[in-house]
Symmetry: D2
Subunit: 282 residues, 4 copies
């Protein structure tokens, strides 16, 4: 129901990819060719890890800026995204599907050094919300600040081990949502793409119970791009390790963006991009 | 943590009592002499029943206007409260004590033809929130839109019969909060004043587990006031049945406002004002 | 750059035409097939004259509710537009073209008993703003609260006699904008549709310097509509004198909406709808 | 009508002085012992120069974050002020005295590499606004985005040479306001404290036409403070050159804050703090 973009690489002003490209995330807020909704004007969020490494033994704490204004005219988003620099950030624009427009319903959500965001929906959420919320660990329960399906899913994944193993943790949470959904007669309970980070690694998931998920793309590595487009002025803004995962391609150039397959988790870290099957049909 | 005012009587522009008096509710937002907090700038709400009676057999449906802006500078509140006329309205200004500033956390809360608002707090709410929320009837659970203690208490009271008997229903909910609190080591679980209406009758409660509740006053009946202050130009705005219950007196005139006793429910309807003991020490 | 709707007729809940129709004004906020912009999500406004006639010799004072939120998800707009009833109201959704998103830039604008709103733009406004603002009567100058071209145009029209003769006053203001524009090398200075009311009559203008104005439609009179669609349940909500002027048809039914010609002023009052040439090519 | 704080010194998280002290700027928003108003809840702003020096020959461009929410509960302010680090920042909390609550009326105001903020008022601003606004250079006129006296004064000072000589430029602007005021029968036209910076130097002014200005304090230099309070854990957060100018002392410790005299300009730069007479009685 939304669009999102996650970046990993050399420290960068987030504006470079959320404001300054042909189909930037903010441009997608006004007109999203591939989205379930054309307009994503119901608030936005930007979560970013600091440029300076955390002190030894400490985990990097991300900052989060969220607003209920449409992203396309938000002056503060311009100020902040052109000012801060970050080696890993998650940004999200929302098209609300029920839950009210309020900052606590804007992605990304944060728990300690973890960030999470989601495009898609849990089907019939009003029906399953109570059971799913009840399944969240009581110690995590008071942290739920908003009323979205996404935030409950995040806390369910935290309950089921996301901090130890993000792929297993989110997988278990999705299976739990499907199980509770079936118990309530909901056939295809989960739909979406998901981004998770601990400040070092970025995991991006594409999965839906029905097997037709929201769109998701990743960018080609910079060395290849520079060979393909040796004269591209634009590429000079980016370092060698710069890569994004994003709901829709940021431009129309052939070869720059590749679709992430169904039932797949993409993993970006210092060693580059790879992906693996995720909850593939059993 | 807040201030509120409820009116019952001849149809009136709410502005007459929330904007235009010496210590109006909006003035209390900036400076509340008797409040637990001096400033109540974290949003406000106005819920009002329509001037025209509902058709036979139908219940009156109240409208609710809520905003996160401080009440003192909200132009829309001025426009609306000077435009609509209502025989029964509830208005509230908030001083947040934790839960975020968002419309879904602003009072009054509504369920069908019922309105509810609260000044005070459930002690250690983070500790008891989960148990109290899961005690809400599953059919009512999805209606909870915000994250305040007050909204959970309202839905607990609805679960426990508020619509059949408001005094018994709210009483049972308060006792349940105290019971759950004790189970978690919370000694004095409930603090506050509460207003409830179905569009015909207004119930206003003053109660706290510790026996020292937030302040609450009711106005003297108009016939008496007109005898006391025969020259008061100001009184001409009000009909014979006009009465308010309010967190603080709206002016300094002797005899106009009387404190509602501890552990008491005030009842205002066509037959005037009366009060009864409520959850008095047993 | 926006969309608007004005209603005149028997008192009506504004929601009937701004929320509850196939292509209601709020639906146009998300998807405006005929608009210069597809999305109109940069705030909105509703100005309405009271249902009860003003006392003898007094002019009706309209209320105005404005918000910077996108109209499609604004709960307060739903509450208010389904609650108040009005015989004459103006509603507007904004697609900002530069000036910031703030309530003071939302239409309609008000001066005493007059309301004004505008879809379109004054070309190169930054260039002509100072001269046009300087041309506003000094006694009206302090009333300008926002930074839009529309508000300056309204105050220029007030300066040039709008309250005595709205057609002549707005015409003179438009000619002044064109004159100042020419002096600054702006060729086609004025573009738009405009609505003006004093609470009794509604004037709706379609004019642009270039002769290709923003779209504008008026509804067919109710007697004719009832003959055309004798079984239409929907029409029963409206009285005999109900008519709207609107940027786009509210539904796809043949014969219900008729385009207002270029360089035309439509006039709606107790005697029905008529239109006249306005600033036609000289 | 407001409170403000400006910092110059080693790069610092703004939260250290606007959130984390006894009487921090945000605490003053809720309760300002020395302010003309007790509550300053009508929005806020933070303008900060970047930590990394501008490239040779380039001027540092400040970022500005502004919001209409009360500062005390604004989560984004917490996120941003604890994340960014800056060697020179200006922060402001507003108590509106007429002009609407909107971001464009929040301080600090920016022009190229310059920031400006103001506590106080131009007397009878509605009377003098038109003359003062038209005295602004036409090339600067379109930059005025809001409706405050402060923003007009800033642009008047820019018109009169602030970028060449801030003390002379603001002085000339103040004299112009007094001159225009006298012409309109306004006796004491200017009241306030003002902060101006180009990213390298901070100028802080205390001046009023009547000679009784809003309060202003500067902090004692760090070497002295460390001698006075050798055990103060709190001081370790600050570098040797850290100094603030602020509407009210940030704590009650003797010797930490010194009042800036009437008709004085304080100047903070790499060489420390000094002050000079400003528009002293002639």
């Amino acid at each position: 129901m939304c669009r999102w973009l996650a970046y990993s690489g050399e420290p960068l002003h987030p504006s470079e990819v959320i404001l300054d490209t042909q189909h930037s995330l903010v441009a997608q807020a006004l007109n999203s060719p591939l989205g379930a909704e054309t307009v994503n004007g119901d608030g936005f969020g930007l979560g970013w890890y600091p440029e300076t490494p955390a002190e030894s033994g400490q985990k990097p704490v991300p900052a989060v800026f969220r607003s209920t204004e449409p992203a396309w005219n938000d002056q503060n988003l311009r100020e902040i995204s052109t000012t801060v620099r970050s080696p890993l950030f998650l940004s999200h624009i929302r098209a609300a599907a029920g839950p009210p427009i309020q900052q606590t319903n804007c992605h990304p959500f944060r728990h300690e050094n973890w960030l999470f965001m989601h495009n898609g929906a849990l089907a019939d959420f009003a029906t399953v919300k109570r059971d799913l919320t009840f399944a969240v660990d009581p110690s995590l329960y008071p942290e739920i600040q908003g009323t979205t399906d996404s935030e409950v899913l995040f806390h369910l994944a935290l309950t089921l081990g996301l901090q130890d193993d993000p792929v297993a943790g989110l997988g278990a949470a999705i299976r739990e949502v499907e199980r509770v959904g079936h118990a309530h007669g909901v056939q295809f309970a989960v739909q979406g793409t998901f981004a998770v980070s601990d400040g070092t690694t970025l995991w991006a998931f594409r999965y839906s119970s029905v097997g037709r998920s929201r769109s998701l793309y990743h960018s080609t590595d910079m060395d290849t791009l520079r060979e393909m487009y040796p004269d591209a002025e634009r590429l000079r803004a980016f370092g060698r390790r710069a890569q994004v995962v994003v709901s829709e391609p940021l431009n129309d150039l052939p070869g720059v963006f590749t679709e992430v397959p169904e039932s797949t988790v993409s993993i970006l870290d210092d060693s580059g991009y790879r992906h693996e099957p995720f909850l593939a049909a059993s």
